[in-house]
């Protein structure tokens, strides 16, 4: 970490941060409505069209931490870190098949969260609670990692030896974020996403043209990476034998988990109709191209021989390759890239706590205004919890918990994804499957020292989220068969087949 303070970079950074803060507060007046109502605060009134949804979901799924962590993994391991690309390739066919059905049923029944849907479909309030708790647990460390993304950018711009400068900057940024999320709800990140994503596109397009040109072209970048891995004796620009299975299973397992996260659900349900989501399944892969290019920065950092390692390589590459004013712009793009997902994640978690924990288990007689109030306060608590996490605990805690979060969130796939197509599974069987999947996933991960991959005899390394999910599905199916054979009564389903289809009058 350098002790110099890059004043020009900081000035450009401060300008964009101030601009976005202003937007965050102005957002309260956009598509004006009563923000004391929860679906207005928490889903932006379900009025976002194709373009806004594209920016919102894109800004939501490709986070500041992605921009920092994916190149860091590519820098350290090579081709293996590229699993993020097939991951976001297979994610969109999945999105195309499931998201419109989810939107339709949630719109028809005024569901705000995935846990609401589980309750309606299976009439099992414990299953609802399981889905809600999993979502909240998986989201908290994810928010914490967004802060890590901001922190490394601050450190790259330097504090001139001010102790805890990064923590102070982080707290300032987060207080600002918390206040405008509180006042403007989902409208704030939707409006900011537009600015932030435009900045990220400018940054990445400049980086993938300018940096390789300085380094002698992409051929030279790949060759330098190839030599570096050969010298190091590990990693490589191609997968080694034995890496194919972990690579493919991580890509697939991450893709099926992606849309089960509360922030993804919030982004989807805020769309104005199912057609908006179908068009986004076609348009969101553009962000994946961006992600692939960002991943290549790992190799550029090797070729440029940056004086940094781990998560610091991208900011270091930026500071080294660009004039200060543009480096400040890029740092602002990444830091703002943390604010959008952090806001949506805290809103998604707040919706879950309010709807699926507070109302059913604590205060059943809340008015819509009280509900909005609880959600707003929860969004504050969640964000400051994440902040405390990053400031007071070692970084590995957040990283390990985020990894576990991915394994956990995959365990709500059967009630949600299967539930969108069939009511064959029983709620209680799904609940048992979920518990087994959570326990197995956590235990396997702990047994290999908090790694995502477990070596199965005869198959090789497989993503633990998928292993746990297989056990989860098998148990849920088995218990459903047993209960059906014994003729036990089924709990009610308030949804009907037609609820999942587009309304006949609305053609996209």
């Amino acid at each position: 970490m350098s002790t110099a303070v890059h004043w020009t970079a900081w000035s450009v950074f401060a300008f964009f941060f101030a601009l976005v803060t202003l937007l965050g507060f102005v957002a309260a007046r956009w598509k004006k409505a009563d923000l004391n109502l929860r679906h207005e605060w928490g889903l932006g009134g379900r009025r976002f069209g194709t373009a806004i949804t594209w920016f919102l979901l894109g800004g939501d799924l490709y986070t500041a931490y992605t921009v920092i962590a994916v190149p860091a993994l590519v820098y350290a391991t090579g081709a293996y870190g590229f699993f993020a690309v097939p991951y976001t390739i297979v994610a969109f066919p999945i999105f195309y098949v499931f998201a419109p059905r989810l939107w339709n049923v949630c719109h028809r029944h005024s569901y705000v969260t995935l846990a609401d849907f589980a309750q309606g479909r299976y009439g099992n309030r414990w299953l609802m609670l399981a889905v809600a708790l999993t979502g909240v647990l998986a989201t908290l460390p994810y928010i914490a990692l967004q802060l890590v993304g901001m922190q490394v950018v601050f450190e790259a711009m330097g504090f001139g030896g001010v102790r805890q400068g990064a923590e102070i900057a982080l707290i300032v940024a987060f207080v600002v974020l918390a206040v405008y999320t509180y006042t403007s709800g989902l409208r704030a990140p939707a409006m900011i996403a537009f600015v932030k994503d435009t900045m990220i596109y400018v940054f990445v397009i400049a980086a993938v043209i300018v940096i390789p040109a300085k380094l002698g072209g992409y051929g030279a970048v790949f060759a330098a990476a190839d030599r570096a891995f050969a010298a190091k004796g590990s990693g490589g620009i191609l997968l080694h034998s034995g890496q194919a299975m972990p690579f493919a299973s991580l890509a697939f397992g991450s893709a099926i988990a992606l849309f089960l996260y509360p922030h993804a659900a919030t982004g989807m349900l805020a769309a104005s109709n199912a057609g908006t989501l179908r068009r986004n399944a076609m348009l969101l892969p553009v962000y994946s191209i961006l992600l692939g290019l960002i991943a290549l920065m790992g190799y550029m950092a090797i070729a440029a021989q940056v004086d940094a390692k781990g998560t610091a390589i991208v900011p270091a590459l930026i500071m080294q390759s660009f004039p200060q004013w543009f480096a400040g712009f890029c740092c602002a793009a990444i830091a703002l890239g943390a604010l959008v997902p952090a806001a949506i994640m805290s809103i998604g978690a707040a919706n879950l706590v309010t709807r699926n924990i507070w109302r059913p288990y604590i205060d059943a007689d809340m008015t819509p205004t009280q509900e909005a109030h609880v959600a707003k306060v929860t969004s504050l608590v969640v964000k400051f919890g994440a902040l405390a996490f990053v400031v007071f605990l070692p970084l590995e805690y957040a990283i390990n918990l985020q990894l576990l979060g991915g394994i956990w969130i995959a365990q709500i796939l059967p009630p949600i994804a299967f539930g969108l197509f069939t009511r064959w599974f029983r709620g209680s069987a799904l609940l048992a499957g979920w518990a087994a999947g959570m326990a197995l996933g956590t235990a396997l991960s702990a047994s290999v020292g908090m790694k995502p991959v477990f070596a199965l005899p005869g198959i090789g390394g497989v993503y633990i989220g998928l292993i746990a999910l297989a056990a989860n599905i098998a148990l849920a199916a088995l218990l459903t068969l047993i209960a059906d054979a014994r003729g036990l009564a089924r709990t009610g389903d308030v949804t009907q087949d037609a609820d999942y289809e587009d309304a006949v009058a609305v053609r996209s």
């Binding site: 191609l238 697939f252 994946s288 191209i289």
Partner: protein
């Protein structure tokens, strides 16, 4: 509602990217990119028109 037969086409991205031996190679290079990399980028260019084509099948 009739099931959209074109939905089967959505299996292609899964087969094309999750069967890693298909593309785990260095040659041929394109613009300095080893095959492994430009193959994955090519999928990202194919995906939007593919999903669009599938979606047209739903609307017909």
């Amino acid at each position: 509602m009739a099931v959209n037969r074109r939905l089967w086409l959505l299996a292609l991205p899964f087969l094309g990217t999750l069967i890693v031996p298909l593309y785990g190679a260095r040659e041929p290079y394109l613009f300095g990119f080893p095959f492994f990399y430009w193959y994955l980028f090519a999928w990202l260019l194919v995906l939007p028109p593919l999903i669009w084509f599938v979606d047209r099948g739903r609307r017909q």
